[in-house]
Amino acid sequence: MSQRNSDNAQDHTDVPSDPALRVKALESLLIEKGLVDPAALDVLVDTYENRVGPRNGAQVVARAWVDSAYKQRLLDDGTAAIAEFGFSGGQGEKLTVVENTPSVHNVIVLYLVFVLSLACIGLAANLVQVRALSLSDGD
């Protein structure tokens, strides 16, 4: 009972933003029309929030720092080396890994596309907006 009361209090104090309302309305509509299974939706939400993202990529990089044989495998075949961690799937079909050195700095830009290695990087929404491409000079 108290749980329900506090939920109602939450509804009254936090007014959802316009996009939140519109997405909620669309979700209700698609469920009502039988186009979306709410249980499937919850699985997807859980996956995106908890099971994919840069933490996975960080594990890969950390291993490469301490294990030079792994690092070489990673540079030779990114997809296979990353799959050793069990990370695979969405947009990770053909991964090339490049190394930053004191003289070469790599910048990965997602251009006219939306995801890069869902498992390892997640959804890098901010990288989609490409501005003037200018790598820093010699530092």
Binding site: P19, L35, V36, A40, V43, G89, G90, V128, D137, G138
Partner: protein, 213 residues
């Protein structure tokens, strides 16, 4: 298309705001919007995102564009009506469908590695080391060729293999298979003499986008 989404080289858009440990989603509705797109299995949304009028595109946040594109596609395909979207309720006469995505499939969907590279022998038009120039194409529909490569000369760095041309995917069901090449452009070539002599840009370009330099 020559749309606002194709921003490479534009100026005046402000600083790219890098944030440490930025979450994938800033608001709960964002992850739900993205999950809806996957759950509905509606197909490619890029052309619909690209068609958002420029002023609206710039005003919208990233996932707002996804939501807008999803609605546009669902309406265009007759899956929902605009009135239903605005009410958030199904038309009383509508027939209940079966969901495209089940929880079981959803669980492993994102970890399935799709096979987009085609296992087919096609004679490549270009080879590593060739000098190539971006063609002066101005499609009004979806393309993966950014405007800043038109008329620019680069060198083939690598042959990526054979893939379907995404430009035609949205126009016809006929696959258009061709080689994709990693092209190396110098910063000078793309951004002018003021650009650093140390900088380079590598970009995957479809064979249809290129001609011999």
């Amino acid at each position: 298309m020559n749309g606002i989404h194709d921003m490479g080289g534009m100026q005046g858009l402000g600083e790219i705001g890098y944030k440490e440990n930025e979450p994938g989603f800033h608001e709960p509705w964002e992850v739900r919007a993205f999950a809806l797109v996957q759950a509905v299995r509606s197909g490619g949304l890029r052309p619909y995102i690209e068609r958002i009028p420029a002023a609206d595109y710039l005003r919208m946040s990233y996932y707002e564009r996804w939501y807008t594109a999803l609605v546009a596609r669902l309406i265009e395909r007759g899956v929902v009506t605009r009135a239903e979207v605005e009410r958030g309720q199904a038309d009383p006469a509508s027939v209940k469908a079966t969901p495209a995505l089940t929880p079981a499939v959803a669980r492993e969907l994102l970890f399935r590695t799709p096979q987009t590279e085609q296992n087919i022998e096609l004679t490549p038009r270009f080879h590593v080391g060739d000098r190539v120039c971006g063609r002066n194409i101005h499609p009004t529909t979806h393309t993966r060729m950014p405007r800043y490569t038109r008329g620019k000369t680069g060198v083939v760095e690598r042959d990526r293999g054979v893939f379907n041309l995404p430009d035609s995917e949205h126009v016809s069901a006929e696959p258009k298979l061709q080689h994709v090449y990693l092209i190396h452009y110098t910063a000078h070539e793309l951004w002018g003499e003021e650009a650093s002599v140390h900088d380079s840009l590598y970009i995957d370009m479809r064979e249809d986008y290129l001609e011999p330099a």
